[in-house]
Amino acid sequence: MTPEMLSLSNSPGLFVGLMLLKLIVVFSVVMLMVAYATWCERKIIGHMQTRLGPMRTGWHGLLQPIADGIKLFFKEDIIPSQASVVPFLLAPMMILVPAIITVAVIPFGPDVTVSGLIVPLQITDLNVGVLYILAFAGLGVYGIVLAGWSSNSKYSLLGGVRASAQMISYELAAGLTIVSVFMLSETLSLREIVALQSEPLWGTFSFLPNWYVFTQPLAFFLFVITGLAEINRTPFDMPEAESELVSGFCTEYSSMKYALFFLAEYANMIVVSAIAATLFLGGWYGPLPSSLGVINLLGKIVAFMFFFIWLRATLPRVRYDQLMRMGWKVLLPLALANVVVTGFVVVLLQ
């Protein structure tokens, strides 16, 4: 007999227990990665600039994120006198929470069997998982707009407006690259997208897995660039351009509220890396055997994060008009062309 899926009806206790376990593990791993991404960024950029980075707290500064967290907890919580209080408090939440909950649809390993029942290693397998990602990607902009507006400061407003214009310009191309992926997969569920990528590639390339990076290289390239712009990382960090806008939309923030913006930046990096790995690089599948699926996925995420940090150490910031020109005149037409060509090929081949 084929084992059935674990559900609330056939084994409620086990289902709830495993669900809570998955939730807590995913949540803690994401938060831990966010905390240590800050340490990694400081260490890596430090070494790239022939400095050492943090060294004092713990072995090679390993306790630095904890020290930073404690310090930020005890900092003064300032709300500017002319700020609109409710949006001012909501903004940091509205930027971090969408980032954290996007992770819920990422599959982090192959199905496992527990006492004869199949358990998918994923918090929830929505049948429209890809669209869920698209929808939540568009919501991060609220936090930034609100932060910029509610602080009632000129730097914040400029940063907020720049950020939102940048994010919405690049979101179009990002959406279209994702469309070209689910045209190949013919499913919107991320679990099935990963499963499809574990099949061998056609013809002479059958030694390679069917990762969509091989069939959609342009889409992968565009997705990584638009992803960088969506999360406001260098070279697209116009919104918080330190040298011109003090700190952009979070100029007026202090204490833990500032820390939440900071955490959100790294959480967004993790999310973009995880989505890129899942959609284009086979998610938990390969290069290591599937029993080590979690390590595969984490390895890919860490590789992307290293790449993003490396870019920050290497590239200067682009100018605003260059940024908008690239978004509208290069990436959007390329992404459209990619979708139409993909559509032509898949309709031809079906």
């Binding site: 929505l126 469309v179 008009d321």
Partner: protein, 146 residues
């Protein structure tokens, strides 16, 4: 084209489990973020003074209102974004069902995309997508032509 009335729904009915897990996860995320904010509100020391609570303007007294009046290019970007976002969702709606629609559907979506590409090219040519120095140049050129 065939109508949908006869076809069976292809997706499984929505399961309670799907959104239970998601709901709890969202709950945990919101709860933790709220706890972080509350903790820092309680732990951090607080002083009140008029000067401290003023918006930061590099040490100068803030002047005037912190609202930009009429930076039209930003509105235009937002409007173009809405228009092309609608294009993206139409293309995506086609992409999920291209196998059932075949060449007719491909023709439809190509024409749809072409019409909007014409729009994009028009905006490109008239300088709606230009910013900074190139936009100023384009503006002067447009004003020369009465």
């Amino acid at each position: 084209m065939s109508s949908t009335t006869g076809s069976l729904p292809t997706t499984a009915p929505i399961l309670f489990e799907d959104y239970l897990a998601l709901g709890i996860y969202v709950g945990i995320a919101l709860f933790l973020v709220a706890i972080l904010l509350l903790l820092s509100w309680g732990l951090g020391h607080r002083t009140r003074s008029r000067i401290k609570n003023e918006p930061y303007e590099s040490g100068v007294y803030p002047t005037d209102n912190a609202r930009l009046k009429g930076p039209v290019p930003f509105y235009l970007v937002a409007i173009f974004f809405i228009l092309f976002d609608i294009e993206v969702i139409f293309v995506a709606s086609w992409a999920v069902a291209y196998d059932r629609l075949g060449w007719a559907g491909f023709g439809q979506v190509s024409f749809f995309t072409l019409v909007l590409l014409v729009g994009l090219l028009h905006l490109w040519k008239t300088g709606a997508l230009d910013w900074g120095p190139s936009a100023a140049r384009q503006n002067r050129k447009n004003q020369d032509i009465p």
